[in-house]
């Protein structure tokens, strides 16, 4: 999707980006804010902002890259203004399927352990871990978003990894 497409038929151009990016962006937001309805609202707002700014889009960065950053920033802003909810919802509590080598029951338990452990990490630690693991942001990008140093981001991610390892070891998913 290039500049010409956005000028000639902006709605079609936006729809194309929407269809390829929306689900991924919603899942990214959901991991951070913990509520699917809020995640969708945040992503919708980001797309609406692209639409409002369609005549002044900066094509030096892709719209996809802009949306990815915008959704992460909006999710973090939401968390600054609202306490993160970890209430049980069907979407998050119900996780069918199984990982390699585990029975569905073991897989569900493993997913619950990982999700709960990430949930219990200190805020910045959890956010840094999620942005790195699932969204592939660099240390520098995460540092900018969270307003902390790159060195602190490195430590947060390492602590997240070690916390998960300890929990998985204690529950016999990893050898001690």
């Amino acid at each position: 999707m290039d500049r010409l497409d956005w000028q000639q038929n902006p709605e079609k151009a936006l729809e194309e980006v929407f269809r390829s990016e929306y689900v991924h962006l919603c899942r990214s937001a959901l991991r951070l804010v913990g509520r699917s309805d809020v995640a969708e609202d945040l992503v919708q707002d980001a797309f609406l902002e692209v639409w409002r700014r369609r005549e002044n889009l900066d094509f030096r960065i892709s719209v996809q890259a802009y949306l990815r950053r915008a959704v992460a920033n909006r999710s973090l802003n939401y968390l600054r203004d609202n306490r993160r909810t970890t209430e049980l919802t069907p979407e998050i509590s119900a996780r069918p399927g199984h990982l390699n080598g585990e029975s569905p029951t073991e897989t569900a338990e493993l997913q619950r352990l990982i999700s709960d452990t990430i949930d219990r990490l200190p805020d910045k630690c959890r956010e840094a871990f999620l942005l790195s693991r699932y969204d592939g942001f660099s240390y520098k990008e995460i540092a900018e978003k969270l307003g902390i140093s790159v060195k602190t981001v490195e430590k947060h991610i390492a602590k997240g990894l070690l916390s998960l390892r300890n929990v998985l070891r204690a529950n016999h998913f990893l050898k001690k």
Binding site: E40, R52, R133
Partner: protein
Amino acid sequence: MTDEIRSAILLHKESTSSLEEGERAELDEWRRTDPSAGETEASIGAVWHLAAEADPAGPWTPDLHAAWSRLQRRMETENPAVADRTDAPRRRLFASPLPWAAAVAALLGIALWWQLRPAAESVRTAEAWAENTPTVQLADGSTVHLRAGARLRYPERFGESERTVQLEGEAFFEVSHLSDGQPFRVETRHAQVEVLGTAFNVNELTGGLGCAVSVHRGSVRFALRSDGSASGTVLLGAGESARYDARANRLTKTAGASANGGAWFTGELSYRDAPLSRVLEELQSEFGVSATLDNGRWADCPFTGRLYRKTLSENLSALARVFGGRSEKEPGSGAYRLSGGRCR
């Protein structure tokens, strides 16, 4: 910083190709000198891999079609530039010619079906037929989404002091807030709903049985029309709903937060600490299929979450998973039954 954290940092930086100058040598040195390096590396690698597999977002994926429709509506209502584009009709009353014909027919037959106040200047009528749920954009930028069977009567231009439309049937309103605070009123046979800027659903119950209002954003004043037969007013905030029962002549606010009257339009049912019996009742109403609880003790179990208008089966399975029970379809009748499980 402990050695353990430092080694985890270096391993993670290596896996993300982020090692800085000197760190490669530091990592190699650690691998050479620490006897437990191999085990640490394997466990950290496994955690990084398992965390990716056990995505905290779970299997959830939003409904792309509904989401795009919702964004399109927002593009139209929040940015008038869309309506002004040369390739789009200035007033996008309906998306296809058939409802236009319906609207014309409704205009011709207006005197037959509408018995409210005398017609104001330049009054328009929109009507939703089965298979079509047209969207009406009003002169003030507000949007009305009509459910099949609904009829809306509205002026081409609003007066200076009020914005009033009349509704038969059910519609979802997204009302523009005007800087001068001019209220927006929806009149039905029994009631009048007044708002300043919000989103809500009005359902004039069929057979003259009354009227139900659900508020999604903002707040509204739900008042019975002053015709001498009944009186009463209730204020509703976001997530609240109320119902007027014409037979009992009673206006009641629904206990607990619930604003699912607009589910036909929003595509979702939202609950906070709602008894499971009510959740099932609304699912039955939405899908027109019977769903019962095998264990009566479940009836009062509180449920918090959102259900989407996919299939009844999917929603019941989600509920069953939350409460640790089972959802089964009864052979023959096609009805569903939830069994087992416990309150959480």
